[in-house]
């Protein structure tokens, strides 16, 4: 009998073991739901799949009688718009400030204590401030994402930039590179894939801030809808929405990973096939 640390699943085994927890969770839900429904056919806590499908058909594929919108798509659009705007601003700011902090000693000396403290401010605690300052509409939600995500991105990028071998920076100078040229040709191209990875890691927090802000003050959006229908205990809407948000986050993470693999072939060079 070989040790378990030396035994590896085959191709089919990986699919099987990977699928097992999903199937287990689904089965657990189906059983629990059936049991509750057998006791009380009007139970709202664990609705059957058919009820969820009906709810999705109602909110996603029939226009809302009051506004004429397809609610789920309007919510998705509104949320993605806020999320994209917030993450875009955060990424751009982190790129500029992070590289400057990592590469230029004076910028690091000036900003790193400030950013270190700033990143410890709990973003949710300043949400009321944002609502007061920026109003209750779009801006404050976008700003919450920016405030919540940017310090992490800056610190990560500054650290990665600082980790570039000093030899590379010296070599670039002996090739006649100015600070600007070194940033453009040596540092930036190597930091972009790192930044994309950092953005992937901050997708989770970004969704958290978005849904929190929408829950408190919004008129549309995925988070708004969930917290609205909560009042009616509408689990048949909430659960598909949660699944949908999860799917959106998963797909955006996957696309960013794909982007890195496509645009930065040197990342994989020398590892594996070569």
């Amino acid at each position: 009998m070989r040790r378990i640390i030396n035994r590896r699943p085959g191709r089919g085994g990986i699919v099987f073991w990977g699928a097992l927890p999903f199937l287990g969770a689904a089965a657990l839900y189906a059983v629990a739901s059936a049991l509750r429904l057998a006791e009380n056919p009007n139970d709202k806590l664990l609705p059957p799949l058919s009820a969820m499908a009906a709810a999705v058909a109602r909110i996603a594929f029939t226009p809302d009688p009051r506004t004429g919108d397809y609610l789920m798509w309007a919510d998705t659009l509104a949320s993605l718009h806020r999320l994209g705007l917030g993450l875009g601003v955060a990424t751009a700011a982190a790129l500029v400030i992070g590289i400057a902090m990592g590469l230029i000693p004076y910028v690091r000396a000036g900003l790193s204590p400030f950013v270190a403290i700033l990143s410890m401010v709990p973003p949710m605690a300043v949400l009321p401030v944002l609502f007061i300052v920026f109003g209750l509409d779009e801006l404050s939600k976008v700003v919450l994402i920016v405030v919540g995500v940017t310090p992490f991105l800056i610190r990560d990028l500054a650290m990665r930039t600082g980790e570039l071998p000093a030899e590379q920076i010296v070599k670039a100078q002996t090739l006649g590179g100015s600070t600007w040229q070194i940033v453009l040709r040596v540092v930036l191209p190597q930091m972009l894939p790192r930044l994309v990875d950092a953005v992937r890691l901050s997708l989770g927090p970004a969704w958290l801030f978005l849904i929190s802000a929408e829950a408190i003050a919004a008129t549309e959006g995925l988070g708004y809808r969930i917290f609205l229908v909560r009042r009616y205990l509408a689990m048949d809407v909430i659960l598909p929405y949660v699944a949908w948000i999860t799917l959106l986050a998963f797909v955006s993470d996957y696309l960013l990973r794909l982007f890195n693999a496509r645009c930065f072939p040197w990342l994989k060079a020398g590892k594996g096939s070569a």
């Binding site: 590379q168 670039a172 100078q173 090739l175 006649g176 040709r185 190597q190 072939p265 040197w266």
Partner: protein, 267 residues
């Protein structure tokens, strides 16, 4: 011309003297090997030549003028590792020097100027035996090939002084022998002044025309940092210069052999 003068050089870190009273006159075209035990200031000395660190006292003159206090295109460098850019192909790594020079704002050349730089780079890459690997990334090359790339990259701007910090420290014996021949050929063709830090005495004596040994002359057992290292031996291997000049010219037909990876006899 690339005459290097070192005048009364001292280097101190807080609580530690690294180098004391170094005086040197290195005529143009000399190949200097810096040898000595670890931690005796060879690399610190090289860094000061490079402009990466400043002397505490004294100074270094290049052709009679004080050395610019930061790394610049008059001094090329090859480190033991990390000298090439992992995100650029072999060809892009070498033309980078020309791109910095020719495009102030973008650092990137296009069209005819890029093609000219590429042709120049291909010439140098062929000379170091990398002519068949232009589109590869450094991670796809072996250690010896990466060092040859680093040398090619440093040579495109025709530096007056070439600084080598244990460039062959991580290579196997066969590869080293090839690199020695390559380096001597390039050195005799381009008339550069070369400074090479090495911990391998044999390597130093094989390659250099002048061997500078660094060591601490005085040691205070109660305060190990009190005294710094000095140049204890300054050996001119003048007779070898003539032999090497002959070898370098005679060695030219062997270039193709070298490129196919046949081991070349050490000198």
């Amino acid at each position: 011309m690339s005459h290097v003068s070192v005048r009364g050089l001292w280097k101190e870190y807080p609580g530690q003297v690294v180098l004391e009273r170094v005086d040197l006159e290195i005529p143009s075209g000399e190949f200097c090997a810096l040898v000595g035990p670890s931690g005796c200031g060879k690399t610190t000395f090289l860094r000061m030549l490079l402009g990466q660190e400043r002397p505490t006292r004294g100074g270094i003159l290049l052709d009679g003028r004080p050395l610019v206090a930061e790394p610049g295109p008059d001094r090329g460098v090859v480190f033991q590792r990390y000298s090439v850019f992992p995100h650029l192909t072999v060809l892009e790594n070498v033309i980078l020097g020309r791109e910095f020079e020719g495009s102030r704002f973008l650092g990137r050349l296009f069209g005819a100027r890029r093609r000219a730089a590429e042709e120049e780079a291909k010439g140098i890459l062929a000379a170091v035996g990398l002519g068949d690997h232009l589109r590869k990334y450094p991670a796809e090359l072996s250690g010896g090939m990466q060092q040859r790339l680093a040398i090619a990259q440093a040579l495109i701007l025709k530096p007056k002084v070439l600084l080598l910090d244990e460039p062959f420290g991580a290579l196997d014996a066969g590869t080293k022998a090839q690199m020695y021949e390559l380096l001597l050929r390039l050195w005799s063709e381009r008339k550069m002044t070369v400074f090479m830090v090495t911990h391998d005495l044999k390597e130093g004596f094989t390659l250099a025309t002048r061997v500078l040994a660094f060591d601490r002359v005085r040691v205070d057992p109660t305060d190990p940092g009190a005294y710094g290292a000095r140049i204890t031996y300054d050996l001119l291997l003048t007779e070898k210069t003539a032999v090497q000049a002959r070898l370098a010219t005679a060695g030219r037909p062997r270039e193709t052999q070298d490129r196919h990876g046949t081991q070349v006899a050490a000198l």
